[in-house]
Amino acid sequence: MLPVGYYIALSSFMFAVGAVGVIVRRNPIIMLMCIELMLNAGNLALIAFSRWNASMDGHVFVFVVITAAAAEAAVGLGIIVAVFRQKSGDIDMDSLSEMKG
């Protein structure tokens, strides 16, 4: 079995890729995918620690996170579609700044 450090390294890398993606990309669909990537990085770390500790607790969190991620994706895509209709084709994230102070 691979040492736990490898899993954590992969997880950290995935999280970093996701975070940078959310910050630098302006396409909301890509941003959504990056968020999924960050969530799954977290899931991977949870499972790795769960195995390492020989405990099932981490699995429970993972199921919760997967459920939340599914809901988030559904709502997020719904919002994107709504914005797409409203803005008639323009879905650049930086142009959605009506709420600025």
């Binding site: 959310v22 630098v24 941003m31 994230m93 930086d94 959605l96 709420m99 600025k100 102070g101």
Partner: protein
């Protein structure tokens, strides 16, 4: 005697009916309801009186409690009434005179749009006044005291569309409030020092608190009495109160409410006798007020204001009497005054009715030919007030002056003041009669043709009051004058002696022949002087006005007291209020509020720039926050 509550209940019910449903009822029903309510109340009072007469004298003191109104620790105030000689006397006066004035009002107010409102207030007033005089403790007395105050306010400003009436109502309410503060403090002091407010207990314990404390209580109660009874220096509201309808002036501002101060002193006599100098002060204030008000009445040219100043001066005489310790004589004058003064007011109302509301004596004259019944009634009232034998005023004024004469050190002074007031009283009331009913008419041709006698619903109550003004004095015939025995005792004084304040009543002041002659002579002198000035030598009065114009101006302006109050209190109050509004309110209070709001606004304006509206910068901020927290957890907390 629990049924005595009905005396309060009937007018209260009448007030509710007329107040709530009155506007939907025909005027006839409203008038009947109001008169029936007061009539029933009078019947109850008469029944209580009759039952009391057959009771032995020692048991003429019945307390009836409905429920406990307040209870806190050892303190307790019941909603209770006390039936004794004093309260029955007042009940009979309030409901008797009240009934006649209600009947009169049906005719007098017949054309007014506020007909049902008027009777709702009047009935409420009768109920409140009865509560005041029947109360068994100072707290219930206070409730009645304030209720009659509010009724007075409502009825003075009854024609509230008129700015002067609204202002007069406010003036009355605010001025009496100054006295009420004293009264309230007095009641609180009684409760605090004696632990009870019930009359019997208070009067039983008052001797134990020392004369200084008793004097403090008596002084505070006296302040309340001065405000309510329009004595110096709080008299200014009563002449203005004449803005109200005339029956209101007759009932509230002549016969009943304004005499509540006298009633209060008589009721609380056991407290007052513990503080002789407060009683002397009351006598002094009464004498000063009587002299002041009757001298102003000499030159007043408004028929109702003459009567208003006359009321102030007559109540001054009552204060003089009770201050001199002649409590029964003071009450006696209260009763007779209720009859002849309300008669005079109703007569004045009848004249105003005939002249479409004119109240200026300078635009009257010669009305005797047109208004026989009113003329006769007013002459009877005037004779009674002037103290002419054998009308009621003679006996009460005689008893009052005899009592004043026998007062301790100040007796002679207030007696002389009383005699001087008697002369002036006779003069100004006959000046009013002559200027109204005698001589040539000074009205317009059309006004003269329009002048007419009032309807029977107004003249009938006046006739009954005239009968009272003649006869009521006979209930208090002095037991003897000089050495001549007239009756075994003074019936009125003997009756009152059974009341709660019995301990305070000294012996009847024995009158002398020369006193009776002096009192009668003073009245005749005044009438003769008025006859000279206004009938025989018509021009004399105007000569006086020209020669003594300074004195005349002083009297006409009421010794400039209103102007002085305006300068000292009202203007300084206005200035203070203006300063508060302009400087303190706008500058400090508004400044603080606006300053805080401005601070919050500018800070939030700066903070709102953080919200760029760029989704990605928020994400960066969240990430940075997460990194900071993670770093804190990893490296600091360990």
């Amino acid at each position: 005697m629990g049924y005595a509550w009905l005396a309060i209940g009937f007018p209260l019910l009448g007030s509710l009916i007329n107040g709530i449903f009155g506007r939907f009822l025909p005027k006839k029903a409203v008038g009947w309801t109001a008169c029936f309510a007061v009539g029933a109340s009078f019947a109850v009072s008469a029944l209580v009186f009759a039952q009391m007469l057959v009771m032995p004298e020692t048991s003429r003191h019945v307390v009836s409690a409905l429920y406990t109104w307040l209870e806190a620790g050892g303190f307790r105030a019941d909603m209770a009434i006390l039936i004794d000689a004093l309260s029955v006397t007042m009940m009979l006066v309030v409901t008797g005179v009240g009934l006649l004035i209600h009947i009169y009002s049906v005719g007098y107010m017949g054309g007014d749009t506020g007909f049902s409102r008027f009777f709702a207030y009047m009935n409420l007033f009768v109920a409140s006044m009865l509560l005041l005089v029947m109360a068994e403790n100072f707290v219930v007395l206070f409730i009645g005291w304030e209720l009659v105050g509010i009724c007075s306010y409502l009825l003075i400003s009854f024609w509230y569309e008129k700015p002067s009436a609204a202002a007069a109502g406010r003036k009355a309410f605010i001025t009496t409030r100054i006295g009420d503060v004293g009264f309230t403090l007095g009641v609180v002091l009684i409760a605090a020092v004696l632990g009870t407010v019930s009359y019997d207990a208070v009067f039983g314990r008052i001797i134990g608190v020392g004369s200084d404390m008793a004097a403090a209580i008596a002084l505070l109660l006296l302040i309340g009495a001065i405000g309510k009874s329009a004595q110096l220096p709080l008299h200014v509201w009563l002449p203005d109160a004449m803005e109200g309808p005339t029956p209101v002036s007759a009932l509230i501002h002549a016969a009943t409410m304004v005499t509540a101060g006298v009633y209060l002193i008589v009721r609380a006599a056991p407290i007052f006798v513990q503080a002789p100098w407060v009683l002397a002060l009351a006598a002094g204030i009464g004498a000063a007020t009587a002299l002041f008000a009757s001298s102003v009445a000499l030159v007043e040219n408004d028929i109702k204001r003459v009567l208003a100043y006359s009321t102030i001066s007559q109540i001054g005489l009552m204060f003089l009497a009770v201050g001199a310790g002649a409590f029964a004589a003071g009450m006696f004058h209260l009763v007779t005054h209720a009859f002849f003064k309300s008669l005079l007011f109703l007569g004045a109302g009848s004249v105003m009715h005939a002249l479409s509301g004119n109240t200026s004596l300078n635009k009257m004259g010669g009305l005797a030919k047109k208004m026989r019944a009113t003329y006769a009634a007013m002459v009877i009232g005037a004779l009674a007030m002037a103290g002419i034998f054998p009308l009621s005023g003679f006996f009460s004024k005689e008893a009052l002056l005899a009592g004043a004469f026998h007062a301790p050190f100040f007796g002679r002074i207030v007696y002389a003041a009383g005699l001087a007031v008697s002369v002036m009283t006779a003069f100004y009331i006959f000046r009013l009669i002559y200027k109204t009913f005698h001589g040539e008419s000074r009205m317009s041709e059309e006004g003269w043709r329009h002048a007419h006698e009032s309807p029977i619903s107004m003249t009938a109550p006046m006739s009954l009051l005239a009968l009272g003004a003649v006869c009521v004095g006979w209930i208090g015939l002095p037991s003897r004058i000089g050495q001549v025995v007239i009756a075994s005792n003074n019936a009125f004084e003997e009756f009152l002696r059974g009341s709660v304040s019995a301990v305070a009543f000294g012996n009847e002041a024995v009158s002398q022949w020369w006193m009776a002659a002096a009192a009668l002579g003073a009245g005749l002198l005044g009438i003769f002087a008025a006859w000279c000035c206004f009938i025989r030598f018509r021009g004399i009065a105007s000569v006086f006005v020209r020669k003594l114009s300074g004195v005349y101006q002083m009297l006409v302006s009421g010794f400039w007291i209103d102007q002085a109050y305006d300068r000292v209190f009202i203007r300084s109050g206005r200035a203070l209020a203006g300063f508060m509004a302009r400087q303190v309110d706008i500058g400090i209070i508004d400044g603080a509020v606006n300053g805080i709001a401005g601070c919050v606004g500018s800070v939030s304006g700066m903070l709102s720039r953080v919200q760029t509206g760029y989704m990605r910068s928020y994400a960066l901020a969240v990430l940075a926050g997460a990194v900071v927290i993670a770093g804190y957890a990893l490296f600091i907390l360990k």
